[in-house]
């Protein structure tokens, strides 16, 4: 996955993401594609969660999956999550759960609870940073004020790091793939460098929904695992999603 929160020169925040999933879950030799990724694409839906006929939040989901991976609380915050690999992983959390230790939250139920119940960027940020989980994760959160964009790097128990947008330091965007931002990504899976190259080439003056989509459409940021691309604008309260394909030749991940 690749998630970006960017702030344009007017202080407006944009949030984009590619949802890549299905690695090693069966390769279709004939079609040169991942079996599960292709089966997930028809399940992609946009959901408008309403209460008293008012929109509470909107999301892009795989039908049948009740948790959240991509969502917007219109005019308040935007949220995506990317997978984080760690030896202290979800299987340990599941074992604890089965043995009766149930003080942690399943990752996608936490994101769903935050989108449904949090009413500010700061409230969402503290819930995502402090709630004990069953598995590690990256939460990428965008707010509705200038400077409100961050990557929360989570272990099961702790918030390991929070990287914020800081325009004074020249950091007008935060970008997360699936590696801790203070470490080099795995050299065979470096989607960070090409994404940063394209964002820097775009420049803050030209970042927009349109150019953010261009970045998320550039191989290998776009790859055989990419099921959908979502673009969110918190100030407009809009979420738009597109099902993707990566024509050959294309990186398998």
């Amino acid at each position: 996955c690749t998630s970006v929160v960017a702030q344009d020169e007017k202080g407006k925040l944009l949030h984009g993401r590619n949802l890549d999933f299905g690695l090693f879950l069966g390769w279709d030799v004939k079609n040169k594609s991942w079996a599960i990724s292709e089966k997930l694409k028809p399940l992609v839906v946009n959901l408008n969660f309403k209460r008293n006929n008012q929109t509470v939040f909107k999301s892009t989901n795989f039908a049948g999956y009740v948790g959240m991976l991509t969502g917007i609380k219109p005019h308040i915050f935007t949220l995506t999550m990317n997978e984080r690999f760690s030896l202290d992983g979800g299987y340990i959390g599941i074992l604890e759960w089965i043995l009766g230790q149930r003080d942690g939250m399943w990752m996608s139920f936490l994101t769903r609870s935050v989108l449904e119940n949090a009413n500010s960027y700061d409230e969402a940020k503290s819930l995502l940073a402090q709630t004990k989980m069953l598995a590690p994760a990256y939460f990428i959160l965008g707010g509705n004020q200038t400077g409100q964009g961050c990557i929360i790097t989570r272990s099961r128990e702790l918030s390991i790091d929070v990287l914020e947008i800081d325009v004074k330091l020249g950091r007008w965007y935060v970008l997360e793939t699936n590696y801790d931002h203070w470490k080099e990504p795995f050299f065979l899976d470096d989607r960070r460098t090409p994404a940063m190259k394209c964002l820097n080439q775009t420049t803050q003056a030209n970042i927009s929904v349109k150019t953010l989509y261009d970045v998320l459409s550039t191989k290998p940021v776009l790859n055989k695992l990419t099921t959908y691309t979502t673009l969110m604008q918190v100030s407009e309260g809009t979420l738009e999603s597109y099902i993707r394909d990566c024509p050959n030749p294309c990186m398998p991940w």
């Binding site: 879950l25 069966g26 079996a35 599960i36 089966k39 028809p42 399940l43 992609v44 839906v45 946009n46 959901l47 408008n48 969660f49 309403k50 209460r51 509470v56 892009t60 039908a63 049948g64 009740v66 948790g67 997978e83 690999f85 760690s86 992983g89 979800g90 299987y91 959390g93 599941i94 759960w97 089965i98 399943w106 996608s108 139920f109 598995a135 050299f187 470096d190 090409p194 190259k197 394209c198 080439q201 775009t202 929904v209 150019t211 989509y213 261009d214 970045v215 459409s217 550039t218 191989k219 290998p220 776009l222 691309t229 999603s241 597109y242 099902i243 993707r244 394909d245 030749p249 990186m251």
Partner: protein, 121 residues
Amino acid sequence: QFVPPYTEDCRTDMYPPNGPTFKGPVKWYTIDLDLPPSKRWTAVISDKKNDLVDMIQAIRDLADAFVPSGRLIELVDIALPLMVDTLPNPFREEIKGIAAVSGVPLGEVVLFNIFYEVFTV
């Protein structure tokens, strides 16, 4: 990380989405949070039932490839329904509602919803 043609120069003018990398738009549905949790997903799952069954079948085939005896799926179908009642609401009831509407075994809907934690294995 520059190995053309698997990587490329930064793309431009890809928006509005078009061409071979755009496989189609995404349909909107409303989830009414005033409904009982077990009823909230009925419209979505009624529409996407065949695709969901298809995807679950692909995961079954994968499991059977790892454990040809079929025991892995049996384990999922026996053990995970026991687990669903340990999940917090409203997720527990929503998952049960999805299994009821789609006809997919409850254990397999549970597996789909906790796949993130399982997949870290």
